[in-house]
């Protein structure tokens, strides 16, 4: 416990800053959304644009999360289980999406897969497939932006856990798949869930990269964050804040989940350290 008045003052200042910078805007979002009553909120929520945006956001997240879950586990497995040339390089490369502005990522994809590019034209001519300014492109950039999360959470954990338990499983007759399913997965499951929560939060809220490749076609390629921007520019304040409220609520749920998972994780570690002779 703090002893001096200046320690208390510092703590108070911290709470004050949190209130002004974080809580107040959050409260304002909901109060703005409900400023003209619940009926207007309901109208906005059921508008075709809003429903289409919610659907699109959910689809993007539903594809992105499993893809990056798989990618993250595979990558963490490779990096922590095998010794090979370029292992360090690989662990550095997966941080590119963290280091790079999402808008730049979106532009890169546009250049490579857009209608003006060789790849884009070839896909259009042979398969009749248009990636950019459509759902596939939006999913692609979201996958790109969120791909490090799962791997980043798993790599340090799997490194510290080592491979002896897997070796023990194999010597007891387990196949590689059985060793993964019955030994590795239970060891990393909480970290994995944590990675999924982070990936999902980012996938749902991504604005920059998606806005570049979406083409902003109303009712077709607008996710929730893009819709908020659109509604705000249309002076539909209630609509914008309703969509914002939706995202904020999702963020709060994510935060809660994350806290619970972290608590579970810590609980597990504490339990593991508590040795009864």
């Amino acid at each position: 416990m703090p002893r001096h008045w200046h320690q208390w003052a510092l703590i108070l200042a911290a709470f004050g800053a949190v209130a002004v910078l974080l809580v107040l805007p959050l409260v304002l979002i909901f109060s703005q959304a409900f400023s003209q009553g619940a009926a207007v909120v309901a109208d906005n929520l059921t508008s075709t644009d809003m429903i289409s945006a919610i659907k699109l956001t959910v689809i993007v997240a539903l594809v992105t999360v499993p893809v990056n879950l798989l990618f993250g586990v595979l990558l963490a497995w490779c990096v922590t289980r095998y010794e090979f040339r370029g292992r360090k390089l690989l662990t550095t490369l997966i941080d590119i999406p963290f280091a790079m502005s999402p808008v730049v990522a979106g532009l890169c994809y546009l250049v490579v897969y857009g209608g003006q590019s060789v790849v884009g034209q070839w896909l259009d001519n042979t398969l009749g497939l248009q990636l950019m300014f459509a759902l596939p492109g939006m999913i692609m950039v979201t996958v790109f932006v969120t791909c490090p999360y799962v791997a980043r959470v798993l790599i340090p954990l799997m490194q510290s856990q080592g491979t002896e338990e897997e070796e023990a499983a194999v010597l007891l007759g387990a196949s590689g798949w059985q060793a993964f399913w019955y030994v590795t997965l239970p060891k990393i499951r909480w970290a994995l869930l944590y990675g999924v929560v982070l990936t999902n939060a980012r996938a749902v809220g991504e604005f920059g990269a998606v806005s570049v490749v979406s083409g902003l076609i109303r009712g077709e390629t607008l996710t929730l964050p893009l819709l908020i921007q659109m509604l705000n520019e249309d002076y539909n304040t209630v609509g914008a804040f309703t969509a914002a409220g939706l995202l904020a609520a999702l963020a709060l749920v994510t935060l809660l989940l994350k806290t619970v998972l972290e608590w579970r994780q810590r609980h597990k570690i504490d339990a593991a350290q508590e040795v009864t002779p």
């Binding site: 023990a168 010597l171 007891l172 007759g173 060891k187 350290q273 040795v275 009864t276």
Partner: protein
Amino acid sequence: MSIRVESIRKTFGGFTALDDINLDVSDGGLVGLLGPSGSGKTTLLRIIAGLEQPDRGRVFFNDRDVTTLDARRRRVGFVFQQYALFRHLTVADNVAFGLRMLPRDQRPGRDAIRARVRELLELVQMDTMTGRYPAQLSGGQKQRVALARALALKPEVLLLDEPFGALDAKVRKELRRWLRHLHEQIDVTSLFVTHDQEEAMEVSDRVVVMSQGHIEQVGTPLEVYEQPASRFVFDFLGHINALEGQYDGRQWRDGDASLRLDTHGACPNGDLTLYLRPHEATLARQPSDSASLPVRVAGRSVFGGTVTVELEPRGWGRGILEVELDRDAWRQLDPGRDEALFLLPRDLQTVTCDGDLGPRVRPA
């Protein structure tokens, strides 16, 4: 099941872990791989288990070449140094793991698995802790669970990597005796790795002494102790005192110390090094006809039936010497502080100029 290893070579990058290793372990043997860290003993164990692939050479189980056989199909029991128990499974589930991984047509039923687990846990005296998690067990308990788990599939080969390494002295001793006993109870060929000389001597039928990727000597504990094949083996098995001096054809000398010997082992320039085991010497107030090695007691440690005495040479030698006397001899002598004493060696080992072992000699 017998194990045969032929011309095994293994390198890691530029480091040669094993260099042309040949070894035979007969059926039912209990063999200790003994060596300092970095001698390649764990690598050899892992190659036999199939966890590492040798660069060259073959591994046979009962004349069947298993070199390229996958680790999961070799059916060896393996106990890891840090036990490697599955942390998310209870003691019972850890032991049952191997049985549950069997293909469906070979897998015993639920009750049969439970019965087998109970039987194994009784064997290792852990049947009261079936529901505990590894984190709730002490080192010795984890060790026994790891053993029960390794024995679940009735392996004919049991490999143990430093099985007692992480335990405290008292538990170690108890478990060593228990492992010997267990080995006699079940029909299995066991190979264990250790860096502890005492452990290898006490537990094994045969000891394989390794150093820097080579096998230095294979033999019974008594053989390797009494007839060490190389300077390394002599050096590694128990504490030794090295006495470095000059030999003039009749007497060994170093400063104020002299020792009459009958040997031809000296180098051309007259250098002669003698090894003295702590229990192959005694102490007296007077020098003998053949030996005059003045010393002073620098410290002593009384433990069990022997007294280990640390001696400081007076006017010769470098560093502290160590001898072991039995308790009665020590009590009879009862030297005062700083009293001048003389070291009387009974048996000495000569070292040749190129560093090999020469003949054993006695003061004459």
